[in-house]
Symmetry: C2
Subunit: 370 residues, 2 copies
């Protein structure tokens, strides 16, 4: 089917028509409700901020790919948000700087970026997430991973899997057990990301090759990783991962890819990516980090339910509606709405109940099937 | 109290912290639910569009006050939306161009503008509205006014009043009953807007002076207006207003200011502004119009609940939460959440239930008051 709006909207931007909008609204609310149930208060930051403020709050957030423009009031550069995590970090450090810790905040909103990428050409996304501010412990990480699973399940995702990683693995090992020159660290990280044993050897990181095989199903991979850790510098991290895994216990397939760093460049000890059956790309990711500026520790996740919405929108139930003919009993119509019915009122004789999506018609004071 | 975020956000932009965010979310959902109950399907257009497309869809929408920037993909100018009505008009004309009429659509989202004004310094607003596409009849206008009242009542507004106007009044009269040169029309409109009898006389619009007095409580003002309409050119309009007024009957205070045109420059025969007790400015406005480009007739409203949110946020109820001590019964906690409780889990021995806003504590499998 040709989308008649295709040439009317810029590449990577689209309208959500009724079914897709209903699915997005339902999923957004289900996720917010799951986070609320665990004590996470929603905050709503603005669409626009000073570019400098966006940039300083999370090291990982590049403003290069944000839509930017000059503020006619301050003559400073503004940016349209491409990520809400940095905004929530700013709120935690300022407006809620004096609130007791741990501080639990959540958010949902549209974010935009100047260019899409090969994996995802979208330039606007719905971002939904939670931040647990003031802790980066295994307990905090366990709560956050479980909450991400709760939120996805509430939204209807099935067959959830979670892939754990240790973002600062190379730094930790290079400092002690598997020494590397500072110049080598970058190269070793790069070859680990590329899963290239030959490249690792060439980069002087031969000792790191076994890490390439400490991946896969969580229990096995964690055992392999532990067996490589002669000096025990990873012991607290592996123990933390096991605590998180115990907590998830059967609610999701768990895997470990301890040297995966792509997308986790600015996390501290723990990171995770989350997937669901029937959805090709990752639905979100999270981990432990430090808030830029305040340097407070935090743990959180961001979900991007776009593909989940696409996957379910065809089955999104349409509301049953009662057609209200001209001159209908208006009190009866109001009563039906109060009972949860949707009503569609005739404006003229020509209005067609079936064409307008009605399954019933108000006759007297009762809804009769069409 | 000094807002510690004040210097961190650009003028006219602000964070909603938890209470304000909760009020905004509750009000947004209540309004969407009211519109859904009357058969209005939500659509979700993107934050950004081609500037040209935004400009062409409603005559009244000036892109001058929109944040604009060059699209690196198309090299065309994009604009951040300052109004969603134009977007819904585009959807009605394109993606839903083939959907049966009347077409009922609603929306809720953030809009932004480059500069605020004296009455409202905000540069970002929550806009919520409904569009009834394919009709501008008195029946359509009655449904739309009643729906705006329903939506505001659902959001908790009290003491609603609605001010009607006839945006094309001068054009209608000038064409027949009170003839004016095309050059005089502008001046007469301006002096009517200024409520300046002397100015009207000077502009050659002496015949229009009585219109200044056909204002106030609806029934009286409508009767005065009808008495001025010797030739009956306003008869169908006055009859339409009376049909709408009959329908509202007691649900809102009704007034008429037939020559009020400010903000209704691009409406057709009917316009209205809506207010509530305790809220200084108008909460929204609406009326009949033609969709730019397709020229299809439509009737709709936009609400800006910002001040309503501010008015209620202090009383926004905080959820009761149950503190979950370390080592708590996790099934009992999940069961409490299933029953609608909010839980807050301890991450360490130091976590303070009261400071974290809890009213109860999980002991065994039961929530006990603190």
């Amino acid at each position: 089917m040709i989308d008649p709006t295709a040439d009317l909207l810029p590449e990577g931007l689209e309208d959500r028509l009724p079914r897709s909008a209903a699915a997005a609204t339902r999923i957004e609310r289900a996720m917010l409700a799951a986070m609320d149930a665990h004590g996470y208060d929603r905050v709503r930051p603005p669409l626009i901020e000073f570019e400098k403020s966006m940039a300083s709050r999370t090291d990982g957030l590049r403003t290069r790919n944000m839509f930017r423009f000059v503020d006619p009031r301050s003559l400073r550069m503004l940016a349209l948000r491409s990520d809400m995590t940095a905004q929530v970090g700013r709120i935690a450090a300022t407006g809620l700087g004096a609130a007791p810790r741990p501080l639990r905040l959540c958010y949902a909103g549209q974010v935009a970026r100047m260019t899409g990428d090969m994996l995802d050409p979208r330039r606007e996304n719905l971002q939904i997430g939670a931040e647990l501010i003031g802790s980066e412990s295994a307990a905090a990480a366990g709560e956050i991973v479980e909450l991400a699973i709760d939120a996805l399940e509430a939204a209807g995702a099935q067959g959830i899997s979670v892939d754990f990683t240790l973002p600062d693995l190379v730094d930790t090992l290079a400092a002690k057990e598997m020494p590397l020159d500072p110049a080598q660290v970058q190269a070793v990280r790069r070859e680990l990301d590329a899963k290239d044993a030959g490249g690792l050897k060439a980069a002087g990181g031969e000792a790191y090759i076994p890490l390439l095989y400490a991946t896969g199903a969580f229990d096995d991979a964690a055992a392999k990783l532990a067996s490589l850790d002669d000096g025990g510098v990873l012991a607290s991290r592996i123990d933390g991962l096991r605590q998180i895994a115990d907590r998830i216990d059967g609610r999701a397939r768990l895997t470990l890819d301890p040297s995966e760093r792509h997308g986790f460049e600015y996390q501290t000890w723990f990171g995770f990516t989350i997937y669901a059956d029937g959805v090709r790309s990752a639905l979100g990711r999270g981990g432990t980090y430090r808030i830029g500026g305040s340097e407070e520790v935090a743990t959180g996740f961001s979900l991007y339910p776009e593909e989940l919405i696409e996957a379910v929108k065809a089955e999104e139930p349409l509301p049953q509606a009662v057609f209200l003919p001209l001159g209908h009993d208006r009190e009866a119509a109001a009563r039906l709405r109060g009972e949860g019915w949707r009503t569609v009122a005739a404006l003229s004789e020509g209005d067609d109940a079936m064409a307008l999506g009605c399954s019933h018609r108000l006759e007297g004071s009762a809804a009769k099937p069409l």
